[in-house]
């Protein structure tokens, strides 16, 4: 109730925005602007990249048009190029990599976050982080020296004899191929999944777990049904990181995939991926159409990443309850 006599100074509007100047004075607006500029830089760089890819592949795009997506021939001598086998190879190897790495990675992250004593967990995490630093060339060499013979002598007979009637496991196997590349990729992306998932799981507040346990759930139930869903977005974020890495990996894949532009349902068949073929041929390519066809392949990969990311996000939105606040 206003009193008579003295008047209180006007305190300004209580709710809603304050004036621009007062926000500026507080430093909030500056902070917002500065961070916004940096965030915008990311978008700018991506757009610039797409622009570069687009303009540097103009010749190839006009020559091949949409046929580029369905042609299987890749012949630098007669200048005939098509992307289909490489798109197939990229998809198959990345899918295999995730199929292997996601269960392993999340399982390991759960173990490290929930069960292992803190110091062991930290030490093991340290080592797993090192896996991310191994140069891809070394992964490729290890793939050639260890996994390729393993594939030929152990894995192929092991899967082909009982399950050879399925189109996925038909022989012959040369050691190199889709599955080998998928395994090498899985090893390369596991550190990202484990590292990020573990941190996110660790940051779930203690009371969530304790509440579940107090209600009589077993350790596993409280983990799987309470903690993990709480950390879901972080875990999904780590899977996005892993997917991106798998799609773009060049060196390691190129050494173990067999480098034949083939489309085959068999996991043991040799094939090729977009990143691998660009890496292999870019440095030696001379001739404008050849170079531009390779750049167009890069553009195709960009498009694939775009669509895959979009589909994944759609899936998340559809399967998550409304209003649970999952940012996509």
């Amino acid at each position: 109730m206003a009193t008579s006599g003295t008047t209180l100074p006007n305190a300004g509007p209580v709710t809603g925005s304050r004036s621009f100047l007062s926000r500026l004075r507080d430093g909030d607006e500056i902070a917002r602007l500065i961070t916004m500029v940096f965030a915008a830089t990311v978008v700018l760089i991506t757009l610039l990249l797409v622009y570069e890819l687009w303009s540097n592949s103009a010749l190839a795009r006009t020559k091949f048009g949409l046929h580029f997506f369905v042609t299987q021939v890749w012949d630098p001598v007669i200048d005939q190029y098509g992307a289909l086998p490489f798109m197939y190879g990229t998809l198959v190897t990345s899918a295999l990599a995730l199929l292997i790495a996601v269960p392993l990675g999340i399982g390991a992250a759960i173990f490290l976050a929930e069960l292992a004593p803190p110091r062991t967990s930290d030490t093991l995490q340290f080592f797993i982080d090192l896996l991310a630093a191994v140069p891809s060339v070394i992964y490729g060499l290890l793939g050639v020296f260890i996994i390729v013979p393993l594939m030929r002598t152990v894995i192929f007979p092991g899967l082909n004899k009982p399950l050879g009637f399925l189109p996925f496991f038909k022989g012959p196997s040369y050691g190199v191929g889709f599955l080998t590349a998928g395994i090498v990729l899985a090893i390369m992306v596991i550190p990202y999944i484990i590292s990020v998932s573990r941190e996110v799981l660790l940051s779930v507040p203690r009371d969530q777990r304790e509440a579940a346990l107090a209600l009589g759930s077993t350790r596993w139930e409280s983990t799987w049904k309470v903690v993990v869903p709480f950390a879901k977005t972080g875990i999904l974020g780590s899977i996005f990181l892993a997917l991106a890495r798998a799609l773009g990996e060049t060196m390691a894949v190129t050494m173990v995939i067999g480098n034949t532009p083939t489309i085959s349902a068999s996991l043991f068949s040799p094939g090729d991926s977009i990143a691998s073929v660009i890496a292999n041929q870019f440095t030696e390519a001379t001739g404008d159409l050849y170079l531009q066809a390779l750049v167009e392949l890069g553009l195709v990969l960009f498009l694939m990443t775009f669509i895959l990311n979009g589909l994944a996000r759609l899936l998340i939105v559809v399967t998550t309850q409304r209003g649970s606040g999952v940012p996509v």
């Binding site: 021939v73 890749w74 012949d75 630098p76 001598v77 007669i78 490729g140 050639v144 020296f145 390729v148 013979p149 030929r152 040369y174 050691g175 190199v176 190129t254 050494m255 067999g258 480098n259 034949t260 040799p270 090729d272 691998s276 890496a279 292999n280 041929q281 440095t283 030696e284 390519a285 001379t286 001739g287």
Partner: protein, 342 residues
């Protein structure tokens, strides 16, 4: 926050400092095949001339041509000579011609992994083309057996291995096959990267060797020095005079000598399937690409000095590293050509 700022400033300062080194840095890029001998040469030359640093990086022949044309490096190196379009491109972009200087010779050899066979197999041109075209599919095919009497060849499928990355090695191999097989020439032709009818791809000589070592019944092609240094079995190839020659330095030099008489002035020549009874048919020069005009006088003199040294003292290092020396006639011709560099 302050700690971070101090750290950052320290790093920047550290990085910017250089040893007070007045050496002239000359950058080159190109073929991987001659990298060992080039690194040896540049190192030796630097010992004799401490103020000159030749920095050569093996990024591939195609990349070498591209970077030299763009001007980001001072010279290039390639296993396959530049074609007319590329020469014109260089002239347009840089306002000067580009000169080829052969440095050493190398060769491609057919390697294989056949169970039960430990010696050198004989390959005729028809057999090689047939295998890589996918028409000869079994090791005990009559065409192979005919050239290898007395060898017990198994009835297994041949698994072909080729290069997955673009390379001068592939250029030499496909150049040879194009010369000896019309079908290859029309179907596949030659290049640093081709559309292989059959086979698996391995990255680099290392990748091909690795695949062959691990895959029974496979065959592929690698550079001679690679096979020699790694002790892998390789076969003999029938040359144009009808003799089966197993690649060695003498055979490669013989191929070059055969071509020496007719070598064009710009040194761009292919010596695969060269005449000569001891010539190894899948041999090739490798070239340094030097611009004809240099803006920088210091660099020009350094390059000319190096070329002269390379043609005389430098050649003596070649054989120890399994490269073949240039024949004398070509050395003399090149010495004259150095004077073209302005």
């Amino acid at each position: 926050m302050k700690r971070i700022a101090v750290l950052v400033a320290g790093v920047l300062a550290l990085g910017a400092m250089g040893w007070a080194d007045n050496a002239l840095l000359i950058n080159g890029a190109g073929a991987t095949f001659p990298y060992p001998i080039y690194s040896k040469w540049f190192d030796e030359y630097h010992k004799k001339n401490p103020n000159i640093q030749f920095n050569y990086q093996s990024v591939g022949s195609g990349a070498g041509i591209k970077q030299t044309t763009e001007g980001t490096v001072d010279f290039g190196a390639t296993d396959g000579p530049m074609n007319d379009d590329q020469l014109k491109n260089f002239q347009d972009k840089r306002g000067s011609a580009i000169l080829h200087f052969p440095t050493v010779l190398g060769a491609d050899v057919p390697t294989y992994n056949v169970p039960g066979v430990s010696g050198a197999l004989n390959f005729t041109p028809e057999v090689l083309a047939g295998i890589f075209l996918g028409k000869i599919t079994k090791w005990n095919d009559p065409a192979i057996a005919g050239a290898n009497k007395g060898v017990n060849l198994p009835a297994n499928d041949i698994i072909v291995v080729h290069r997955s990355d673009g390379s001068g090695t592939t250029y030499i191999w496909t150049d040879y096959l194009s010369k000896v097989s019309d079908e290859w020439k029309s179907k596949v032709s030659k290049g640093t990267s081709v559309n292989w009818p059959v086979g698996l791809g391995g990255k680099g000589n290392e990748g091909v060797t690795g695949l062959i070592k691990q895959t029974p019944n496979s065959m592929g092609y690698v550079e001679l020095i690679y096979a020699a240094q790694n002790n892998i079995p390789y076969g003999a190839v029938k040359n144009s005079s009808g003799n089966f020659v197993k690649a060695d330095l003498a055979g490669v030099s013989a191929a070059a000598a055969g071509a020496a008489k007719e070598i064009p002035d710009d040194f761009r020549v292919s010596i695969t399937n060269a005449p000569g009874k001891n010539a190894y048919p899948i041999s090739s020069f490798t070239w340094l690409l030097i611009p004809q005009k240099f803006q920088d006088a210091g660099k020009r003199e350094a390059v000319k000095g190096f070329l002269k040294w390379m043609l005389t003292d430098g050649q003596n290092y070649a054989e120890a590293l399994s490269y073949a020396k240039l024949p004398k006639e070509i050395v003399e011709k090149e010495k004259k050509a150095i004077n073209n560099i302005q």
